[in-house]
Point group: C2
Chain length 296, copies 2
């Protein structure tokens, strides 16, 4: 008898499409009510290829749901003061509901200083300390960081139970791992998990990850998680995305996650693909945050 | 052969005394430099006995290190608007470095609304979302919540290594458990732990707590942690404090923690007593935060 795959896909494209249908409907309502559509601006400093790809995908997503979008491109030699002046303009622009400054920034610009300068009410990336604090405190007014919010939406869409489960988060970055661990532990739906946060200083990582009913990997290391690190029947969410050179492909590269998909899928109950898992959810969350900003 | 106790005490009183000596020295420096001592105000609404005891202990601690202190007592019938007006006055009082509004507040006052109204630069309890967010982001400008900061200071004072250890935090409150889990996981000293946060929805809590190299209990349930839930050689920090009626004592009560001290001490390498463990550290952290506010 042959082995048959028993896993089910946590399909971020499918989930995104469903959510975007609703977002488009609500955007039309906002437009009808106040005479203009939700409006997101994205600021891109320099010409990093991956950053440009991400920003362009965000702009395209805005168009697909009937948002207005603005793409502001600045040269890599833009000074911190110039960028702060732009942020100040965007904060005061009454025609703009939210904006993002795409990271990473050139080394001569302090990203913390830029983030702090953004009006928290327009911080649809959810990176400002006041929005992070509101997330920790479970206050509804703020914006959740886009990727962790997207993972929550994906779990909800597929009806994955979380209460009482052991969730292991690998990675402690400010924009993914740490907020993810907070959201999964809080008294909410999804949430109510026992949460373990692991990172580069964790000893015997496999012994930790094998305890996970829900394993969320945001470590930024290609294919670091193998089948031996995953419990049978786990829900596996792979936040990683890496371009690996591959001359056998027309594009010259292929995309890998932090998880070895084929071998882990054979043990998992649910798993995200890369691409097409968390990636589309991040952009959809950004649209949801912008819609929330537009509703005031 | 008789068993001998091998544990060592994480003595919060001793650690506090050492830290307060330094705080008093620095307070004198501040006073010499700008002509007035650090000044903390505490607002107490209503006449809850435990709250009064805490507030009075804070005022007394201020005096001991040469701070100025103000105790503002309001009746239990104070309205939310009246309390907000007072907060506004305190925010603008140039003679005041920091202030706290003692929790819990009467039920007709929304504590979130009060906390949000406090100027983050005077929020020496570290409860404002912007200070919580700064803690998550590892930014140095803010104030850490007093109890988690106190636990960190205690671990540092006794030279407890934390990097790479598995820290289990029991309890997910906004003011202790959740910030504690964040501080222990971040890339700092103390910190760099693999951290598990457990709470009322956790299944098989004992299987989780037995993994802890460092066990921090802030669950608010008297003596819930027994020896069977603790690994041999663990470091055990008990944040709980409960008044239990005891007619055999002159005071009429005795104090218990969340940990069964005698039986857990027999297995632990280090353990906090209750009282005299975390309690004094919380007040000392408040003094440290006030000193930081006074230094600007």
């Amino acid at each position: 008898m042959m082995d048959v795959a028993t896993y089910q896909l946590l399909d971020g494209r499918r989930c995104s499409e469903a959510l975007k249908t609703r977002i488009a409907h609500e955007a039309a309502e906002v437009k009808a009510a106040r005479g203009r559509a939700p409006h997101l601006a994205a600021v891109l400093v320099g010409d990093d290829g991956a950053s440009r790809t991400y920003v362009e995908a965000k702009v395209k997503a805005c168009e697909a749901v009937g948002f207005r979008s603005s793409l502001i491109r600045l040269s890599a030699s833009t000074t911190e003061e110039e960028l702060l002046a732009l942020v100040d303009d965007l904060n005061r622009d009454a025609e703009l509901d939210g904006f993002i400054v795409q990271l990473p920034l050139p080394k001569h610009i302090d990203p913390d200083r830029i983030t702090l300068a953004i009006d928290p009410r327009k911080d649809v990336d959810g990176f400002h300390p006041v929005n992070i604090g509101r997330m920790v405190l479970g206050q509804k007014e703020g914006f959740l960081p886009a990727t962790p919010r997207g993972v929550c939406e994906l779990l909800t869409f597929y009806g994955i139970p979380t209460a009482g489960k052991h969730c292991v988060v690998v990675g402690r970055s400010n924009i993914v791992g740490t907020p993810m661990s907070i959201l999964m532990s809080r008294n909410a739906e999804p949430g109510n998990c026992t949460v373990t946060i692991a990172h580069s200083r964790t000893r015997d990582l496999a012994a930790i990850t094998r305890q996970a009913d829900i394993l969320i990997v945001a470590a930024g290391r290609p294919e670091m998680i193998g089948a031996d690190m995953v419990k049978e029947g786990a829900v596996v969410v792979d936040v990683g995305i890496h371009r690996i050179e591959d001359r056998s492909r027309k594009s010259g590269f292929r995309l890998l996650g932090d998880v070895r998909f084929a071998e882990v899928a054979a043990k998992a109950a649910w798993i995200t693909p890369v691409p097409g898992g968390v990636g589309p959810m991040t952009i959809t969350s950004l649209l949801q945050n912008t819609l929330k900003a537009a509703r005031g």
